[in-house]
Every structure is written in C-alpha cells, then in structure tokens.
C-alpha cells in the first residue's frame, strides 16, 4: 500500500467513446441528448476512472504501432493469424488440421508421451494437494515436475514391488508424492496415455458406439452413457430423421456438408431450375418423430440424488470440488473430488498481427516453436514518446500525497523518433471523479529533439548536450518551477513540471448552502478500490515532420524524394501520480 509506482496508461484511439448508458427511470432513452454528446465528443474529457476505460487503457509496452497508418494499435484492434500451434509444456508442434479433429488440448498419440504424462499429472497432483492442505495453488506451476527427464512417470506397480517394465504404470507427482493408483488409474503400457485415460474414464462404449452400428448408425446396441456418446447418438438420430424424410432430394447432401457429388449435383440442379419447382415434390414431408430410446440419445433424468447427498454428508467440505478446480476441468459437472480427472495441456499459438486498416504486418514471430525471436515487431515504444514520472522534491516519510498541499512532479518525455517532435499537452483543470484534485501543467507546449541514431558521434553529441545544458543552466540560473518553461532538456528528452493539489479524501455531504434542488444525490459511499490514487487524464498531441514513406502505392510516389510529410498523433493517457493519504 505504501509503495506506489507511478504509471502511464495509454488509451488506444480505437476505443468507441459513445456513451450508451441508459437512464435510470422508465423514460425512453434520451434521444435528444445522446447525439449531442457524440457530436461534441471532443469537448468531452476522458475519465480514466470510468468503468469502460479499464478496457481501453494499455501500458505502453502492450501497444503496437502501424508505421504505414501511423497509428497506435492495441490488442483489441489488430487482426491475428495463427503461425504455429504448440504445446507450451513439451513444445510439440500441432498442425491446424489436427486441432480441428482433436480439439484444443494435447491428445498425444505421438512420440512424446512422457511429457504429456507430466502434463496430465500436474493437475491431478494439484487436486490431491488441495485436498490435503486447502491451499489455493491452482494456478501455480510445478516446476519440479515439469523439468524432469522423460522417464519420469516412475514405473512402479502398486502391488508387486518389482519394477519390471510390463507391470502396470501409474502417474506420480514428485511434489506431493501422490500417485494415480490412489484413484485406481493404472495403465497397461506407457504409451497413448491420453487414449488410455479416455478409456478408463468413459469405458469402451465411446469407440464402440461409432464402430458397432450394425446396419445404421442409429441402431446401436450400446446405450450411450457419456455426453459425447449421447451427442453422437442424437446427431445420428436427427440425421436419420432428416435424411430419411425424403431420401431422393438434394437435402441428403446437407447431412455431410454437400460434399458427395451426386447430392451436390441435385442440389445445384434444384437451385438453378427454380426453387418453386424444386420445392413442390418435397412438400409432402413425413413426420419427424422424437427420440425415444436411449440409443437415440434420449434419456430420462435421474431425479434421485440421495446418493449424492449422502456422499456430500460423508465427504464434507474437503470432498467437494473447489471452484477453481471445477473451472480448470475440461468438462463441466464435476462436483466431488473423485470426479476430477487429469487435464491435458491446453495448446498455445504463436500469432502474427496485422493492422486491420492497411493489412500491414506489425508483429510476426518466428514460426519455429523453440525460437522466441520476432521477425517483425513494431512496438509503440519505438514510435511514441514515453512518459516517466518522478516527484520533484521527494516527500519525506510515507511517500503519500498530502491532501490540499501542492506537490510538484517531473514528467519526462523521451522521444524515440529520429525527428523533432512538437508536443502539446492538455489536462482538465480538475481530475474527474468524486475527489477532484487540481492539476496544472506548467509547460503544456514544448519540442523534443530528435533521437540521434548515430553512435559514431555519440561523444560529440554528448558534449554538445552537456554544453547546451550548461549554457541553459547559465541562462536560467537556479531551477524554478515557472509557467511556460520547461524544466530540463536533454538530447532527446524534455522534463516539465506538473503541479497537483490533491483533494481531501474525506467523505462528507456538501454544505447545505451549496446544494441546489436539481442536484443529484451526493455519493457518500466509502472509498472504492484505487479511488485514492491521483490519476491525471492527459491528452497528448504529437506533431512531427518525417520523410514521406515511399513504399506506399498512393500519392506519395509522385512527390520528390526528400519531401517532408507532416504527421500528427493524438491520444489520451492516464498518468498515475501517487496515492493521497487518508487523514
């Protein structure tokens, strides 16, 4: 609490600022006021405390920059493309096609079973562990386990002490010494763990259900018990109902996406020969009945939950699944700890990002999984000035701002561009919110010199800078917070001073004299989270001239090579200065 790090958040210009709040009473939405608001939206100061702005504020490091459109791009306003899909645990690369068939989790029937074993093991150990100590470890990784060499599913048979290879295999966790024989999970062979687990969990019926259809897929003998099998049964039931209804028609193709050619052909024929004619013979549709037997996916619900209630009574609080555990499970519906199952690893994807406007790639990783470098990455840090904050005179003691006492802060703007940048700042005189602090930017307009990119002349430049600084210092003599003047200037940075008068955080109704009749009820609720942080909304406008980009196909080609283009960028940012002490 006591420590507070000043921060800067930048609001991506992609946000949609139209207010959509609805009136509290029954009156129809104020159609007259809404357009008004959006019209003079520019006058509308940005409120970093509003609930919506949490979704559009980003730290500078999270932002990208499209250097063709010259615009900031936040994670919300880029289009993404998959480059590689891989397992974050074993770095196995998964193709997009198997992603479709096998889902978003690692179903390893490949040759890296051991790693998937650890993957499976991890969550189970978690569950066992949580049951023991009730700690909230769910998102904590288990590095001790994951770093193990491949033969780490220690082969041991629970019954026979001799660890011979053909014996049953279990999953163990080296962290909490749990092993899966406790829940009766043993494997015959150390391969295909995922498949074996599925088999243990669902029994054989899942595979049987698909294979053992004697004549048609609906007439299976096995009663589907799992949701997956029921789903498949329902699907085949509905398929048989819709297809069987009029077998000759082109609709038969719809069941399998119109891929088999005769069906597709008749469908095309019926489309092009005119719908009315095509539809006429089909109007005699037969009755589509309901599913009524278990192998069609129909199931009466078992309303008697006495067994579950007595289990709840027996196992108590620790026997039930915690909310975090239930969330991490792949399938929902687990309520007791013994219904938890190992979770295969969730796959991850490397993504390249494009500007949605000009389709220019602004971020592209190496496609190899083990390579963490980027081929292209245009981060905003290289294109817009960074802002750092520090107090001018570090206050003694707690470092909290004293209410109603002016404090001075030094904002340092650092220019990463190779051109001079003209910066214009604007802040509202008081911060929005319940506790309005006064803010004064002493020098709202200044220019930052270009970023000298030539390291060769670094010394010269340094000397120059030093000289210049000395000269300035000579000019200004002693530093003084003075309106209209910058505080300090470097090669590519400028510091200015912001004066704030923090408001008092006391929550009390306004004096009765000041309250008018039409005023809304004052908000006297207690202090909310982060309401004691003095946060300044600041509108930053940058202006610079740079060389025209020649790779653009547009009008720029006809111009001369050294033509300068004027560029402009403006955005809101929220600057967290410090906490106000509650006295």
């Amino acid at each position: 609490m006591a420590s507070f790090t000043p921060y800067t958040y930048i609001q991506c210009p992609c946000h949609d600022s139209t207010s959509q709040s609805r009136t509290a009473d029954d009156a129809p939405p104020p159609t007259t006021t809404l357009p008004e608001l959006s019209e003079n939206d520019d006058d509308h100061a940005f409120d970093p405390r509003a609930h919506r702005s949490t979704f559009s504020l980003y730290p500078l490091e999270h932002l990208l920059y499209c250097d063709v459109c010259h615009q900031i791009r936040c994670p919300r306003c880029v289009t993404e493309e998959l480059v590689t899909i891989y397992c974050p645990n074993c770095l196995f690369e998964v193709g997009t096609s198997s992603l479709k068939t096998e889902g978003n989790r690692l179903t390893s029937d490949y040759l890296h079973l051991n790693k998937s074993l650890t993957a499976a093991n991890r969550t189970l150990t978690l569950d066992a562990h949580v049951a023991v100590s009730n700690a909230r470890y769910v998102s904590a990784p288990w590095p001790s386990k994951l770093s193990k060499p491949p033969p780490d599913p220690t082969l041991l048979s629970a019954d026979s002490a001799t660890p011979i290879p053909p014996g049953p295999w279990v999953l163990t966790c080296s962290y909490c010494h749990w092993n899966s024989s406790e829940i009766g999970v043993k494997f015959d062979k150390p391969q295909g763990i995922f498949g074996q687990l599925q088999k243990l969990r669902y029994g054989e019926d899942q595979s049987k259900h698909v294979v053992s259809g004697d004549t048609s897929p609906t007439k299976t003998d096995s009663v589907p018990e799992t949701n997956k099998a029921r789903f498949a049964a329902l699907k085949s039931f509905y398929g048989s109902q819709t297809v069987g209804a009029n077998p000759g028609a082109g609709l038969s193709g719809l069941g399998d996406y119109g891929l088999n050619s005769p069906g597709a052909l008749t469908r095309i024929m019926s489309i092009y020969s005119g719908n009315i004619n095509g539809l006429k013979p089909k109007t005699k549709s037969s009755v589509m009945r309901e599913a009524d037997s278990p192998n069609e996916g129909f199931q009466l619900s078992d309303l008697d939950e006495g067994a579950a209630i007595s289990q709840l009574r027996r196992d108590g609080w620790d026997g039930t699944v915690t909310g975090d555990q239930a969330k991490t499970q792949v399938e929902e519906g687990a309520q007791f700890a013994d219904q938890l199952w190992p979770i295969p690893y969730l796959l991850r994807a490397k993504r390249s990002k494009r500007c949605p406007v000009c389709r220019h790639i602004i971020s592209k990783p190496e496609s190899k999984v083990s390579n963490t470098r980027w081929r292209i990455r245009l981060i905003a840090n290289n294109s817009i000035p960074s802002i750092s904050i520090k107090p001018l005179n570090p206050p003694p003691g707690s470092g909290l701002l004293k209410p109603l006492q002016p404090a001075h802060f030094l904002l340092t703007f650092k220019n990463p561009l190779f051109d001079d940048v003209k910066v214009t700042l604007a802040t509202p005189a008081t911060t929005p919110g319940r506790f309005a602090s006064r803010v004064t930017v002493l020098c709202p307009e200044f220019q930052i010199d270009a970023n000298p990119d030539n390291d060769m002349y670094l010394d010269d430049v340094l000397k120059d800078g030093e000289k210049e600084r000395q000269r300035r210092r000579g000019d200004e003599g002693i530093h003084q917070a003075e309106a209209g003047k910058i505080w300090e200037r470097g090669r590519n940075w400028v510091s200015i001073i912001v004066e704030v008068i923090p408001s008092s955080l006391r929550i009390e109704p306004p004096p009765a004299i000041l309250v008018k009749d039409g005023d809304p009820e004052p908000d006297l609720s207690p202090l909310r989270e982060d309401e004691d942080v003095l946060e300044i909304p600041m509108f930053v406008r940058l202006e610079w001239e740079s060389e025209a980009s020649h790779d653009q196909v547009g009008a720029a080609t006809s111009r001369e090579k050294d033509a300068k283009e004027k560029r402009e960028l403006a955005y809101w940012c929220a600057i967290g200065i410090g906490r106000i002490s509650q006295e």
């Binding site: 979704f55 609709l251 996406y257 619900s301």
Partner: protein
C-alpha cells in the same frame, strides 16, 4: 484452408498464402506437390466454402458464456465472468500475496457481486458500453486462447435466453459484428435448444438461472410462453450469505443486510466465498410427502431407491456439523454448520413453503407454483405433451435434490388440485356438493336453473336440435382422417403424454451446436452488412413477416430449403424482437 481463398476477400487471400508458406517452411522433408482439395473439383463451389468455416456457437448467460465450434459435443471453453478479467491490462495486483484479503475495497461501491455478472436484465441505468467491453474481452480471450482461432470472420450462432432485453441483444450483436467481423449471426432460443438436445420437439424447460428462473413451454420447437420468477441463483446466494453470516457471528440476527456497505464489515464474507459454499455444500430437502407415482414402464427409477436407505439417518435429521473454512472474514474462521441447516437456503430461495401463496408478488412466485401455474395456463394439448417432457437446465439445477424437489412438489400439486384453474371456497363446495355437481353436468331439463350452459333459442332454431343435448366432452370423438394418415407412416410412434415426466438434456449449448451443424435454420439470421446499415431499429417485427416468410422456426426437412430461400430484406430478431 486453401479452398477458402476463392471466397475470401483480397487481403485474406494474401494472408492465407503467406501462412501456407510459413508452414511449408517449417515442415522438413522432400518437396511435395501442394495438397489440393479434392472436394472442390467434384463438389459444388458453395459446398467447399461451407466446409471450411465451422461456425462458433456461443451460449450467453448472465454469469457464464459457453463457446465452442458447431458439431462439438461439449463447449471448448466455459467463461465465468469474474472481476479479474475486468482489470486493466498490465495490472498484476492479482498476484500480490495479500490480494485476496483486500476484497472489501474492491467490492465497495458496487452492487453485491456485480463484477461477476455480464449484465443485469434491468437495463435501466446500465452502461451498455461496459457490457460490450466485458463481452468483447471475454470473447477475445476465449476465442484466441481456448478455441485457437484467427481473426478470420466466422459465422456465429448465439443461443439466447428467452426474452433477453433488446438493448442487451443489440450490444451483443454490435460487439460481434464490429469487433469480430462475423458475416452472419444466427439466433437460437435456449429453451428450444435444450429441448432439441434432449431429443424432443416439445418440452417444459425450467431454467434455474442466475437472475431469474424461467419456465418456458416449447411446443413443436416453438416457444409457446415463458414465465419467470426471481427465485434463482442470486437469491440463493443471498440466503447463503445470511446463513454463513449467522454461522460466523454465532447468533441469529433478524435484520437482513440490504446495503452493500453492510456487507463490507469485518465479519462479512466475500461474494466469491459465498458462491464457493453455495456451489459446494448446498443441498435440497425432499418434499414433505412423496407423491403417489404411477409406475408406468417408463416411469422414473427413483421410487425404489428411497426405501433403500432407511437405516441411515435421513439427511434432514442429520445435525452433524460440517466444517467449512472461511477465509474472507476477519479473522479467518472455520465454522461448523449442521448438515440439515445447509438445506435452508434452498428452501428459502426457491420454495418458501412457510408463506401462503397469496403473499407473493407475481415476480417472486415459488418455483413449483410457477411450474404448476405454467402448465395450468397452457392449452390442453400442449400441456399434455409438455408435462411429460420436463427439462431442468441452468446452473442451480446442479444442487443436489433440487430438481426432484421441484418435480415432486409439482406432482403433489397436480394430485391435490388437478388441472382446475378455479380455486377457492366456492368451487370447493361446488365439488363436494354432489347434488349441485350432477345437476349442472347431466340434466338438460333443469336448464332453467343454470342458464349458462345452453342457449335455448339456438336449439329451437335448428331442426335437429330435438335430440337430447349432449355435452361436447361426452360426445364420441370423430374419426380424423389426417390423424389416421399420420399413424400409417412407418416412422410414427405414439407420443408420450399425459403424465409428469422429467427428461434429461445435454444442455442448450449442445443443442445449438447440433442444430448449427445440421444446418437447421435459426430463428433469425442477421447479416453483417444489414446490421451495420440499419442497426437494431431495422429489424422488422416478427409479426409482420412471420407467416409470409416462414423462415422462423420450421425445423422439418422442408424448412431447410425455405430458410435458404428467405430474402434478407426483411430481417427480424426472432422472438427477441417482439418487445418494441
């Protein structure tokens, strides 16, 4: 992937070719002829485009979103709306050690548990922009992290609860169209999909949700009517809070904490912990007496098992303490609550049997009364079908014993009262007094005393009216030729109807996934272009287009083609557009 290029716009073509190049670079091996999609040479051009994009099915709820691809048996990702997702990017305070103990400052200034809801059904005073933002962030997270899709536009199927407020629907559509560039969005109704996923065409769907419990009658894939009550998850949570607070304090207080500020005291508990207790420990008592169940061959297998556990103490009598560790109160405490007490929140939230029926407002009817009333208000035929297809869905239906309790209570009510909407002393007397009863029903000669039944001048006007008047109910049923024809169909099986029966569903999401994969036309399909042009106000009222277009709701084989032939000029929001 490559087959999509024909359809995609120009930028996309380049995108996919770049990506294909990247892939071929990574895979080592001898150079190969690039795989050509064989299907496109034989199939129709439209067919190939259809295969490629599997639509995404999204089920929207107040607390949870379910997402996945159409055709999957289970959603790939179930998002629970949580305040952790609503922090600024780069705010890592969640990882601070004392984060969870500081929940009071985070919870202040908002309605209790508001951070855990996507929206409130009462849109007055709500900022819909926040709803959009929340939804967008959750969707983006789920799509990119769990479904592992790219930003290509994808078709979306929304499974929506009945009568979702139009502003909420509008902002949902806005988000999907603007932020995710979906080309079309189909709307499906969640009760209909629950029935669909149960394999039936009609059902009475009882959705025990968060804000409200809805009872929706679905007949032949139409939503007939929907009833609602606030006795749902939120109320249950408040009851749980009171129960836990009493346990923490060690004494019972009569006053209820209505204000949010009162829930931030040292001894009070956080919403998260209340929910944890509510989902883990609550159970529901059985009905006061068991209904006499007719043991039909398809009847529930539940009856037998009740007797088996006779030796055990019944759970209602069990006062053995259950230890629950609570960390969010100051200081942390392990409370011991008798097991029987843990059934009380359910009792108070859903049934409230202590109070008489007349003391409830329309919006807070106990659930079993609501179900009974819903069945009562349905037309006779619909009721017969629906009552033997009762489906329970929703988060609260996972509470042990709640479903059977509601079912039993309704059965008892049906046994006691039958299907007679007339209630009260007068009707009671009328029933008990045999003389009166017989008079009115049988004898036409005493018409003078009961003038209501038959108009005498009508009978005089007709020549055939000389025969003794037969009450319509007693007349022999006419032979219905259409009915006979239907019976002759080989596919026909007599419908199960006329007794109460609960059936199990795979859930609305699975229904939506199934329906989308089967290419069943949705209630309404909205085109991106049209939405961007016209917005929510462009939607025609369903009543204007309903009959002519026939694009709504017909799910038979003929409906498939009609859905495709439907013109996009008149588009609707389906049943959700009827409100305005």
């Amino acid at each position: 992937m490559a087959s999509n290029t024909g359809l995609a716009s120009l930028p996309h073509r380049t995108v996919s070719s770049i990506r294909a190049g990247a892939h071929s670079a990574t895979t080592p091996g001898p150079p190969q002829t690039p795989a050509r999609p064989i299907s496109s040479t034989f199939g129709s051009p439209s067919g190939s485009s259809r295969v490629d994009d599997d639509p995404i099915v999204i089920e929207l709820g107040s607390r949870k979103l379910r997402l996945g691809f159409a055709g999957d048996a289970a959603p790939k990702r179930i998002v629970a709306i949580s305040p952790e997702q609503q922090r600024r990017t780069g705010d890592f305070r969640v990882w601070e050690p004392d984060f969870s103990s500081q929940w009071r400052s985070r919870a202040s200034g908002k309605p209790w548990g508001a951070d855990h809801e996507l929206w409130q059904l009462d849109v007055r005073g709500q900022d819909l922009g926040v709803v959009e933002d929340k939804l967008e962030r959750e969707l983006r997270d789920a799509l990119f992290k769990y479904l592992l899709v790219d930003s290509r536009p994808r078709k979306v199927t929304l499974v929506l609860p009945p009568t979702l407020p139009i502003p909420l629907l509008s902002s949902t559509l806005n988000t999907l169209f603007h932020r995710f560039q979906s080309p079309t969005i189909s709307l499906l109704s969640s009760p209909v999909m629950a029935a669909f996923a149960a394999g039936t065409r009609s059902a009475l769907v009882i959705d025990l949700g968060w804000h409200e419990t809805t009872v929706t009658a679905v007949y032949e894939y139409h939503e007939v009517q929907s009833w609602r009550t606030v006795r749902a998850g939120k109320l249950l949570m408040e009851e749980t809070y009171e129960l836990l607070l009493q346990a923490v304090r060690g004494y019972a207080t009569m006053e209820r904490t209505e204000q949010t500020e009162d829930r931030l005291l040292d001894e009070s508990l956080s919403f998260e912990e209340c929910e944890e207790v509510a989902t883990r420990m609550l159970w529901c008592k059985k009905a006061a007496r068991q209904p006499h169940r007719k043991t039909s061959e398809e009847g529930l297998a539940t009856v037998h098992e009740h007797e088996e556990e006779g030796e055990e103490i019944p759970p209602t009598e069990d006062h053995s303490p259950m230890a629950i560790t609570l960390n969010s109160c100051k200081p942390p405490k392990t409370v011991e609550i008798p097991f029987s007490q843990l059934a009380e929140p359910c009792e108070a939230a859903f049934f409230e049997t202590r109070l008489s029926l007349s003391s409830f407002d329309d919006h807070e009817l106990p659930v079993h009364h609501l179900v009974y009333r819903a069945l009562l208000q349905l037309p006779l035929d619909v009721r017969a079908i629906c009552m033997s297809r009762i489906i329970f869905t929703g988060g609260c239906s996972h509470i042990f014993g709640l479903r059977s309790r509601i079912f039993d209570e309704v059965s008892i009510q049906v046994e006691d009262q039958g299907w007679d909407p007339v209630r009260g002393k007068g009707s009671e007397q009328c029933k008990t007094n045999l003389k009166l009863h017989r008079d009115s029903s049988r004898q036409a000669t005493k018409n003078g005393s009961v003038p209501v039944v038959i108009q005498p001048d009508m009978t005089n006007g007709n020549g055939e009216a000389t025969e003794p008047q037969v009450k319509a109910a007693d007349a022999p049923q006419e032979v219905d030729h259409v009915e006979n024809l239907i019976r002759k169909e080989q596919n026909y099986k007599p419908q199960v109807q006329g007794f109460l029966r609960a059936i199990d569903t795979l859930g609305p999401w699975c229904g939506g996934s199934l329906a989308t994969q089967m290419k069943i036309p949705a209630l309404a399909t909205i085109d991106r272009e049209i939405w961007l042009q016209q917005g929510v106000n462009g939607a025609s009222r369903p009543s204007e287009v309903d009959i002519k277009m026939g694009q709504r709701q017909s799910m038979g084989p003929s409906g498939l083609m009609r859905g495709q032939a439907a013109q996009p000029n008149n588009w609707t929001l389906g049943v959700w557009g009827t409100m305005f």
